[in-house]
């Protein structure tokens, strides 16, 4: 998984470095905000742990052994942003000091193993673990699946990076200058190794470590465990509510748009000469059929909108009609999601 120098072109290395850079920036800001003066010492020791843990050879079911990258463990215990930093630092030292992974490929290796892997692992872990108890077996399963999916996601991205090389870089004789295998070979070759041994090693490491921590120090799993809604919720979502309100106030801007929205025609529009002209103008001057299409005719009477054309009958002002429609529509969407959230909260009681 550690890509050495010479397998990726300099432009690919630069591109992956540019992709990784924003993640490093955001991660350092987020983790600094979280840890304050603890940032340097804690990240240092955790990075050292990430380095050392990669040396543990795990016995796997079936009799073989494999090394885990530890991306699942880092994402589950520390959260994805701290995992980005700690694994990146460990990979940097591995590349520069121990020659494991290329120096020019540091961006690619970090993007694959320190960014894609941990974020995918974290998302899978949260999705499966939900709000289960810290000591629930569900978290062990979630960690195993998270590690497995995370390392395979990282391998998939690495395979794509490899597979792009022969498509883009050849010498004058047509020989590939970097990794020589096209996507059709690179993808199955990488995934074959990771769907089996490497994936299993990562799954065993993540699930096993969560099981060990559940017995010894369950509070270490608390940092990334989802919690019930708290009083700080308004503070966290305040900007979103203000943004939503602003968008509602700006909704009459839709009146400024000229012409007709393509495809949003009613049955009556086909009989209206002005509307027919607009339909033709919006369709590249293709004249609409004389008769209303039978399907449209049949289905148009199935449902009558309570507020047709965003203009309630009792309101004369169409600007106010747009705003009222925006408030009503957004309110209905929020109600639906609030209902779903309440149902989920009842089904899976929080820790």
């Amino acid at each position: 998984m550690h890509i050495p120098d010479g397998y990726l072109s300099p432009s690919t290395c630069a591109a992956t470095f540019a992709l990784a850079a924003p993640f490093w920036y955001v991660a350092s800001r987020k983790v600094k905000r979280q840890l304050h003066t603890k940032l340097v010492p804690l990240m240092a020791v955790v990075s050292a742990f990430s380095f050392v843990v990669m040396m543990f050879n795990l016995p796997l079911p079936g009799g073989t052994t494999g090394h885990a990258v530890g991306l699942g463990i880092a994402a589950i215990v520390l959260g994805p942003w701290a995992a980005v930093l700690s694994i990146s630092i460990a990979l940097l030292i591995q590349a520069v000091f121990f020659g494991d992974g290329g120096i020019t490929a540091i961006g690619a290796n970090c993007f694959n193993m320190a960014i894609v892997g941990p974020f995918v692992a974290y998302a899978v872990y949260q999705a499966i673990a939900g709000r289960s108890e810290l000591t629930s077996p569900r978290r062990v399963v979630a960690a195993g699946v998270a590690g497995y999916v995370g390392i395979n996601a990282a391998a998939l991205v690495a395979a794509i990076e490899f597979g792009l090389q022969p498509m883009l870089f050849h010498d004058a004789m047509g020989a590939p200058l970097y990794a020589p295998y096209p996507l059709s070979i690179a993808l199955p070759a990488m995934l074959a190794g990771h769907l089996t041994i490497a994936g299993l090693a990562e799954a065993v490491a993540a699930a096993g470590l969560v099981a060990v921590l559940q017995r010894t120090e369950p509070e270490l799993l608390d940092l990334t465990a989802r919690r019930p809604a708290t009083s700080g919720r308004w503070r966290e979502t305040r900007a979103l509510w203000f943004g939503l309100g602003l968008l509602m106030l700006l909704s009459p801007l839709g009146l400024v748009a000229a012409g007709t929205a393509w495809g949003e025609w009613g049955a009556a529009d086909f009989a209206d000469p002005a509307a027919r002209q607009e339909i033709a103008a919006a369709s590249g001057n293709v004249v609409p059929p004389e008769a209303v299409p039978s399907g449209l005719q049949r289905l148009s009477s199935v449902w009558s909108a309570p507020i047709p054309d965003y203009a309630p009958a009792f309101l004369r002002n169409e600007h106010l009609g747009y705003i009222l429609s925006a408030v009503t529509g957004s309110g209905l969407v929020l109600l639906v999601f609030a209902g779903i959230g309440a149902l989920r909260a009842r089904r899976s009681p929080s820790v």
């Binding site: 397998y7 350092s28 050392v52 050879n57 795990l58 796997l60 990794a179 020589p180 295998y181």
Partner: protein
């Protein structure tokens, strides 16, 4: 059940190492690599004399040039240059062969071997018996990958073998890497050895108490418990280190001493390295 997980066996050294032995050997390997690097970094060689900042930039430029070149002859010359720099820096070729060349050749060789047959192109010969065609393009492609990997790995090892790690870090700081990152890199390097020692002690303690071979699940539990214990120790260590730093006046600002001085020879080396790299990349050699 067949493989003992500990201790001396009667296999005459032919049996594979157990898990704990492998771990111990790996951890000791990290420490010995570091020790060797510290030893070679003070030898009176060519690269050891250069300013670390100059060396980091120059070697990085040469690595990028080696990765960028589109000609095998240029790649061979770059490899020869790296080998020459190693000799002038009093680094024995046997060390390079053991630490880099053999490992990279085996790793990359296995990966690119199928390319010799798979990459389409002009068939120069066929494998006897099977009849698979060996293409010129496939051979060139394999040579490019192995040559680049060997050359870049040699150059990057030269940096570590001729420069103490704290000087590499200070050079990074001088080149604009944020102080916090440099401090984390420095402390990470330090605590890798602390945690390595801790893991070594755990492995040896467990090994000395094993009275019989362990089966697969038990060995798995053993390794996972060790990782879990190491994580707990790591987080406790982080808290202790933080408290110690705060007690000594640390308030979140990292300050590093920077006392490097450049000489004309440093600038000459830098110009030469940048000139080579610029020629290779600029002229698309």
């Amino acid at each position: 059940m067949n493989e003992p997980a500990y201790g001396v066996c009667s296999c005459g050294g032919k049996k594979r190492r157990g898990l704990l032995e492998s771990l111990v050997f790996g951890l000791i390997g990290v420490e010995s690599h570091s020790l060797e690097a510290e030893t070679t970094s003070v030898l009176p060689g060519l690269l050891q004399r250069f300013d670390p900042r100059i060396k980091v930039v120059a070697l990085l430029a040469l690595i990028i040039a080696a990765v960028s070149t589109q000609r095998l002859t240029v790649l061979a010359l770059m490899f020869a240059l790296a080998t020459g720099l190693a000799l002038l820096s009093k680094i024995r070729l046997i060390r390079l062969a053991r630490q880099v060349w053999l490992g990279v050749f085996l790793f990359s060789g296995i990966i690119v071997l199928p390319a010799v047959f798979i990459v389409p192109g002009e068939a120069i010969t066929h494998l006897p018996l099977i009849g698979w065609p060996i293409t010129l393009q496939g051979l060139r492609s394999a040579a490019f990958v192995i040559g680049r990997a060997e050359t870049a790995a040699t150059l990057s090892l030269l940096l570590v073998l001729t420069t103490p790690w704290p000087h590499v870090l200070k050079a990074l700081r001088s080149l604009g890497v944020p102080a916090a990152i440099v401090a984390i890199l420095g402390m990470t390097y330090r605590y890798i050895f602390v945690l390595t020692q801790s893991a070594l002690q755990m492995a040896e303690a467990r090994q000395s108490r094993l009275m019989a071979p362990l089966d697969g699940p038990a060995r798995r539990r053993l390794m996972l418990t060790m990782i879990g214990t190491l994580l707990t120790k790591t987080l406790a260590l982080g808290t202790e280190v933080h408290a110690a730093m705060v007690a000594r006046g640390y308030r979140g600002e990292v300050r590093l001493l920077d006392d490097f001085r450049t000489r004309p020879a440093d600038w000459a080396f830098l110009l030469a390295a940048l000139g080579i790299a610029a020629t290779i990349i600029g002229a698309r050699l």
